[in-house]
């Protein structure tokens, strides 16, 4: 068997959901995420144009950086003029703004929420803590680099980055979406096992399904 066949078999394998008690396993899905190819060129361009103009942020402030979203939402910086709106549920939102440092407890919820979002989905990582740990680089309970755990589209450096920097980041994200570069959803499905391995390495009490569809 060559590598391609092994990958094909891995794709068809069901998830074990080992973190759950035996009787609860049947309640959750054991299907792996699949990649979805983009549509034909013109249709996909049109959809990307709309996606870039209607960005819904999931309302989950994961760290101190979430504080910067408040001035962004309200009158002073008003993100709604860029077509950006807050949305209270992961099912309906398309952008996940990780607000700064992510503790081990939070990364568990970040993974859950990220997997519940419907693709195409985009991630903006805010602050130095998500890039290399920032001032928490040697902390025992925060992660250092976010893109080991979920695919990130845009990093905004700074501690804290001001709302202007966030707007610049959002504009950059829009450009990337329009050129069709933001394929985080497919990247996650392709490298699913790698991401899961990294996540399980740091989340010790893994008491949730392997894939939170």
């Amino acid at each position: 068997m060559d590598k391609k066949d092994i990958k094909e078999i891995e794709k068809q394998m069901k998830l074990a959901n080992e973190g759950l008690p035996e009787k609860e396993r049947i309640l959750f899905s054991d299907v792996r995420p699949t990649t979805v190819a983009p549509l034909n060129k013109y249709l996909e361009n049109f959809l990307n144009w709309a996606r870039a103009r209607s960005l819904w942020i999931i309302g989950y402030g994961t760290g101190c950086g979430a504080m910067e979203l408040r001035p962004l939402m309200t009158s002073r910086f008003d993100m709604s003029r860029f077509g950006i709106a807050p949305r209270p549920t992961p099912r309906q939102s398309s952008v996940f703004v990780i607000g700064g440092y992510a503790s081990i407890k939070t990364i568990k919820r970040i993974v859950r929420s990220y997997e519940q979002m419907q693709g195409p989905k985009f991630v903006i990582a805010l602050g130095s803590c998500t890039i290399n740990g920032g001032m928490y680089y040697d902390s025992y309970n925060t992660i250092n680099r976010l893109d080991y755990y979920i695919p990130v589209d845009i990093y905004i450096a700074g501690c804290m980055p001001r709302p202007e920097a966030l707007i610049a980041g959002f504009n950059k994200l829009k450009e990337k979406i329009q050129t069709g570069e933001c394929e985080g959803m497919n990247k996650y499905a392709e490298n699913f096992d790698w991401y899961k391995k990294n996540q399980k390495q740091i989340i010790k009490d893994w008491n949730m399904p392997d894939y939170n569809w």
Partner: protein, 303 residues
């Protein structure tokens, strides 16, 4: 008339009114933003949102009823709209107005909510039955003054046919129900506040307490169907109120001006008042508007 031509006209009128309703939604968002001191989203934002939600690559379903929920909701919106004559005397926009259509329309206003309740309930999220409970109880509350106003109108015009009601109001502005039966209009306009779910009656979708309420689990195309219906349903309700109380419309610009002004009543109240709690909103509808509705029936039947 040939049934195919009738269907073609219905499709045209549904498209025009859906686009109008969605644009109206965009304008209202802009107005709210300006009241908050913000610049606000573009007027076309609802269209972009619908294209985007339809363009999602994956979607999660929770069962058959979950599929049917948004479809019932859209059927409720279509049913409400298709039996209301939009423009008096127009062939294209007369829709399927028949004898007793007012009763049918009132049934359809409720139908969509019930269908949605079944669908959203299957989503399994604890907040969606909470939103449904709030939505249905508030709906039952504001249906009381609205039904009383409709009964007053039925007594006044001796008919349940919307076209006849509009025809009776033609001629002069003083023939409008607004001037011939003002109490019924007051009761119905207050219940319109609840129908449009702007503050103070926005407890159903309350994004801060019960994230977005009933449609919390709706994603991708399910949500896009609901968004489309919101445009159509809002416009249909406004047209119904225009026909019942404000003399109907004889052409498209008049229809647009009148429905816009009726909607502005909801928006003005919504932009100025904070939100009621569920029990406050229920008590409110069952107190003054209901009494005004009863008074309107007594007024029209005996004086």
């Amino acid at each position: 008339m040939n049934i195919w031509i009738k269907i073609l006209y219905a499709v045209i009128s549904v498209l025009v009114v859906t686009i109008y309703g969605l644009t109206l939604g965009g304008i209202v968002r802009k107005i709210y933003a300006r009241v908050h001191g913000r610049y606000g989203p573009s007027v076309w934002q609802p269209f972009l949102d619908i294209i985007k939600t339809h363009g999602k690559r994956v979607s999660i379903s929770h069962g058959y009823m979950f599929y049917l929920g948004p479809i019932f909701r859209l059927a409720g919106g279509l049913g409400t709209y298709l039996f209301i004559p939009v423009i008096f005397g127009s062939v294209v926009f007369s829709n399927f107005s028949i004898a007793g259509d007012l009763l049918l329309v009132m049934y359809f206003i409720f139908f969509g909510q019930l269908g949605m309740a079944l669908g959203a309930g299957e989503g399994g999220h604890p907040y969606s039955p909470l939103g449904i409970a709030r939505g249905l109880s508030q709906m039952t509350a504001f249906e009381v003054p609205f039904s009383l106003a409709v009964i007053a109108i039925a007594i006044q015009y001796n008919t349940f046919n919307l076209t006849t009601i509009v025809a009776a109001q033609q001629g002069s502005i003083l023939n409008w129900t607004l001037f011939t039966n003002p109490l019924a209009v007051v009761a119905a306009m207050i219940s319109l506040l609840g129908m449009n779910m702007h503050p103070p009656f926005s407890i159903v979708l309350a994004p801060q307490e019960i994230p977005i309420g009933p449609p919390i689990e709706m994603n991708s195309s399910f949500l896009a169907t609901l968004q489309t219906n919101r445009g159509l349903f809002t416009a249909a309700k406004l047209i119904l109120f225009m026909n019942l109380f404000f003399g109907g419309a004889t052409n498209l610009p008049i229809m647009i001006i009148k429905t816009f002004l009726i909607y502005m009543f909801s928006v003005f109240v919504g932009a100025s008042f904070p939100r009621f709690r569920p029990e406050q909103s229920m008590r409110f509808f069952l107190k003054w508007p209901t009494l005004i509705g009863v008074a309107s029936i007594i007024f029209i039947a005996y004086f």
